[in-house]
């Protein structure tokens, strides 16, 4: 069986044609222009995954009330909403640096929720200045 899908790994968005065997296993990928596209097609039918980007509540900053975050690797697509629920219970504290782990082993072992923005500690939150 052949199926079409749009590659999402880069802005080019190649139209992929994927051939599946009777067990639903991918046996051939066509239309991709890079190796990553091939890999995407292979996993999309067995274990579709997406990088989640969202925000968490932030304290300790004068400028920002929310911190943009993302998962360090794609997480299973069916778990996106579960992940959103979990995100809403989290809170980060300024100062934060890009790449800081906000929540380790998020949804899956080895995948972290990480900060996407450098945010300084606000003056009014800096205890050393009080």
């Amino acid at each position: 069986m052949k199926k079409n899908l749009t590659c999402i790994v880069c802005p080019i968005g190649c139209r992929l044609e994927v051939t599946l065997d009777d067990n639903g296993k991918v046996v051939d990928v066509a239309g991709n222009t890079c190796k990553r596209g091939h890999d995407y097609a292979m996993t999309e039918f067995t274990d579709p995954r997406r990088t989640l980007t969202t925000t968490v509540r932030l304290t300790g900053s004068d400028s920002d009330s929310f911190l943009p975050v993302r998962t360090s690797a794609p997480i299973p697509k069916p778990k996106l909403f579960e992940a959103m629920k979990k995100v809403n219970t989290l809170e980060a504290n300024a100062p934060v640096k890009v790449g800081d782990v906000i929540c380790a082993d998020f949804i899956e072992d080895g995948i972290n929720l990480i900060a996407c923005k450098n945010i300084d500690q606000g003056d009014s939150h800096d205890n050393s200045k009080r």
């Binding site: 925000t55 968490v56 509540r57 929310f66 995100v87 809403n88």
Partner: protein, 484 residues
């Protein structure tokens, strides 16, 4: 014992606000009862913004008399109340002989009405004055006394002046019952009651219904006639300098093209009866109709530069004149019904005339000695930042850094301007109220960038959550939830 006002004014449109302003100089306790959450919530918010010279109304009508008087007074009043007014003049443009005959009729009528300096000009002079007019225009009636003014700014100014002189304003007060208790009127809205010795019904498009609350036999019926408009970008504001009218027809003064005092170009209105008095929606066909009308007058008008469209509903009376008389059922209840166009131009004269009527009805008019003729406690209002000179801007930014922070980039409105609009009498509580008072959000991006900032400033200043800040009335929520 509950307070008894001397006069309750029902409606805070330009008629009601102007009446409150004119009454403010007398020793009277005045209340203004408004159904909306702000002044100028009805036709005073959405009209042509024209100070008509006074040649439209039939000779001998009250409308004609008050229009000519109002037109003469408004420039002076506008200066006193810090409302931008421009004497940009007007032209009624004829296309061929039929129309030109009509110009003669208008000229004759205007002269009888007492409109000064009216004249008919030929095509050459017309096109010299307005080079972008259609080459097919053959002549025009030129009215040097006509002008433009922002109708809600005028309404706000009049109301704010009344407010600082002690007039009390009640908003979200939708009058639904009026009872007579001896010489006192109980004016009710739901479970609320305001008591007053006299009342003036200035309820605009709803004034016939209000009149019938006290006199079920009140004869005049208002026909809601909607007019649609388009506002063009300031880049098009100089397309014409005078207000350009078509030759009027039965349906009204027809479609016009006019600059606004704020520098935009206004196109409209059409005139269509609607079933529902508050139906200020626009329709595709209507917008097309006014586009065509505008193109006929000014073929080069760049209608692609539209930044917004809106509609207003005229309170057109079936009698075709202003009705300013006490109710047949109650000698202490004054009706002002059918104050449609030129209601804006006439407004100061309408108020004066209404006061003459109130005096006849028994109101004692004693001039106060502490009357403040201006819009603020301290006299003239501070100009908006954008209108200051460079030196004034520099000075103000140094003194108040909030004026060095631009919030609305399209219209150059600063945080200082917005804070002032929130803090002044009858100050802004909603995003639209900020918009009406400062123009923040009225520019080409239509609030795309500044509305989140305005919500934030309002919330901080009023001490509430941004979730509680509305666009206009209750129910017009901007934000519906927190993300987390």
């Amino acid at each position: 014992m509950e307070k008894i006002y001397d006069i309750a004014i029902i409606g805070a449109g330009v008629t009601g606000a102007m009446l409150a302003h004119k009454l403010a100089k007398y020793k009277l306790d005045v209340a203004v009862l408004e159904a909306g959450c702000d002044v100028a919530s009805g036709a005073s918010r959405a009209n042509s913004a024209i100070v008509h010279a006074g040649f439209d109304a039939a000779c001998g009508t009250l409308k004609a008399k008050l229009n000519v008087r109002g037109c003469a007074e408004l420039p002076v009043l506008a200066k006193q109340l810090d409302v931008p007014y421009k004497n940009n003049t007007s032209l009624v443009v004829a296309y061929g002989e039929e129309d030109e005959k009509m110009l003669e009729v208008l000229l004759e009528r205007g002269r009888k009405n007492g409109v000064p300096k009216l004249e008919i000009i030929d095509s050459a002079r017309l096109h010299e004055m307005e080079p972008s007019l259609s080459p097919e225009a053959t002549a025009a009636l030129y009215a040097p006394t006509a002008g433009i003014i922002c109708p809600y700014d005028l309404t706000m100014a009049a109301a704010e002046n009344a407010c600082i002189n002690g007039c009390e304003f009640y908003f979200d007060y939708k009058v639904d019952k009026i009872e007579r208790d001896g010489d006192i009127l109980n004016i009710c809205a739901g479970d609320k009651t305001i008591r007053a010795r006299y009342a003036a019904n200035c309820a605009g498009v709803h004034s016939d219904e209000i009149a019938r609350l006290i006199d079920p036999e009140f004869p005049i019926k208002l026909i809601p006639r909607r007019g649609e408009y388009m506002v063009l970008d300031k880049a098009e504001g100089k397309t014409v300098s005078a207000t350009i009218f078509m030759v009027p027809s039965k349906a009204g003064k027809g479609i016009l093209v006019s600059p606004t005092v704020d520098g935009n170009l206004l196109v409209g209105p059409n005139a269509h009866e609607v079933g529902f008095k508050d139906d200020t929606s626009t329709e595709a066909m209507g917008l097309e109709e006014i586009s065509q009308g505008a193109r006929r007058l000014v073929p080069s008008a760049n209608l692609r530069a539209v930044i917004t469209s809106f509609a207003g509903v005229r309170p057109t009376p079936d009698t075709d004149d202003f009705h300013i008389l006490p109710s047949a059922a109650a000698g202490n209840f004054l009706n002002l019904v059918g104050i449609e166009s030129p209601g804006l131009a006439s407004s100061p004269a309408v108020a004066e005339y209404a006061i003459e009527q109130l005096a006849k009805m028994g109101v004692t008019l004693k001039v106060r000695d502490d009357y403040n003729p201006f819009r603020t406690e301290k006299g003239h209002m501070r100009k908006p930042f954008r209108e200051l000179s460079n030196e004034e801007k520099a000075e103000l930014c140094k003194k108040e850094p909030a004026y060095a922070k631009i919030i609305c980039r399209c219209e150059t409105i600063t945080e200082g301007d917005i804070l002032a609009a929130i803090r002044r009498p009858l100050g802004a509580k909603t995003v639209d109220m900020v918009k009406m008072r400062t123009r923040a959000g009225m520019g080409r991006c239509q609030g795309g960038f500044c509305s989140p900032r305005v919500v934030e400033i309002l919330a901080n200043e009023l001490g509430v959550s941004p979730m509680d800040i509305k666009k206009r009335d209750c129910g017009s929520d901007i934000l519906c939830d927190k993300t987390k």
